[in-house]
């Protein structure tokens, strides 16, 4: 069966409609069938529909995503309560250890993301992975810094990612490789993202799953949960009416 490739972190400048449209068209040309674009809270339903229509025009699926950057665990919980039912993907950029731990154990969080340059704030250790594996949260890696940086910064980043990926695999935390790019020229084909994942020792099959099976599974699971027919995992409404 043909793989469905997904990029869950495409970051076009949403104020620039032309660039956004160009990036969506390019994602389709590069072979993606599903993309997620982080939208700001101020973004209206109408604009999200515009993005969805743009994607439908070029034959790819769109998933709405929000990137949360809470300062405290309390702020994270409040945001999750408010936003979980509005977005298909919720990613948390963990800037403090407390937030990282809360995000990892909260089942409403889909993706854990860590700052690329600030190595002291990469909190993906064994404890974090253990919480994430029980909380169904995935570990997201953006390849943008790998493309953009050079020299010692990239060396340190690759070294950190190697350790983190090994921990994620040990605790069976799904790894997701996304682009995280905001420029058309930095967009890469799914197989190229997978090849870049080899830089932090992700095997070819695991790397391909990180750009196909794992992200698609998250979107599928969340769409099911957000559907009005959903009751609980494995239970959904088949028919409503007096004869039931």
């Amino acid at each position: 069966m043909k793989r469905i490739y997904a990029d869950l972190h495409l970051c076009p400048n949403l104020n620039n409609e032309r660039q956004t449209a160009r990036m969506i068209r390019k994602a389709a040309a590069l072979g993606y069938r599903l993309i997620a674009i982080p939208v700001p809270l101020s973004f209206t339903e109408k604009k999200v529909r515009w993005l969805r229509n743009l994607c439908e025009e070029v034959g790819i699926e769109f998933a709405s995503r929000i990137d949360l950057k809470p300062r405290t665990p309390r702020e994270l919980i409040v945001n999750l309560r408010r936003l979980r039912r509005r977005f298909e993907i919720i990613a948390v950029l963990c800037e403090t250890k407390q937030v990282a731990r809360q995000a990892a154990k909260d089942r409403r969080v889909d993706l854990l993301n860590f700052p690329a340059i600030n190595f002291r704030r990469r909190f993906f250790d064994k404890a974090e992975a253990e919480l994430a594996s029980s909380g169904l949260t995935a570990f997201e890696i953006d390849v943008k810094p790998l493309i953009m940086f050079e020299g010692t910064v990239r060396v340190r980043l690759m070294s950190n990612l190697r350790k983190e990926v090994a921990i994620a695999q040990k605790f069976r935390v799904p790894t997701i490789v996304s682009s995280g790019v905001s420029d058309e020229l930095h967009m890469r084909k799914p197989r190229e993202l997978a090849a870049l994942a080899s830089l932090f020792d992700l095997k070819e099959t695991a790397a391909l799953e990180a750009v196909s099976k794992n992200p698609v599974a998250i979107v599928k699971r969340n769409r099911e949960k957000l559907s009005p027919r959903f009751v609980a995992p494995g239970i959904r409404v088949i028919r409503r009416g007096k004869d039931c």
Partner: protein, 106 residues
């Protein structure tokens, strides 16, 4: 007896508004491979230019089959050719030049 080296041919597409010479392209490729894998790693790739069309922004390179993924990663890390913004995408990979062109025509 020495085993014959298996090779792979990669068809490349240059994504840029500029046109580049074959030398500029190869400089970008070698420099990306050197940055990521060092001189020792680069020596194992067997990288060579087979065909280049600057106007169509199309190239064919040859690599050793065990180095395909490494070269693919190095190609993906290219953001500039001759100091001008550019990207390179792998269109297809094949074991012979003949089948590579056949795949590209399909």
């Amino acid at each position: 007896m020495l085993k014959k080296e298996r090779r792979r041919y990669l068809a490349l597409e240059i994504d840029s508004e500029e046109t580049f010479s074959s030398k500029e392209l190869m400089n970008a490729l070698w420099s990306a491979v050197l940055k990521l894998y060092g001189e020792y790693g680069a020596s194992k790739t067997g990288l060579a230019l087979i065909d280049y069309n600057g106007e169509k922004r199309f190239a064919v390179i040859r690599v050793v089959h065990i180095a395909v993924e490494n070269v693919r990663a190095a190609i993906a890390s290219i953001t500039k050719i001759a100091e001008k913004p550019a990207a390179i995408h792998v269109l297809n990979v094949s074991g012979t030049i003949k089948t590579l062109y056949k795949k590209l025509k399909q």
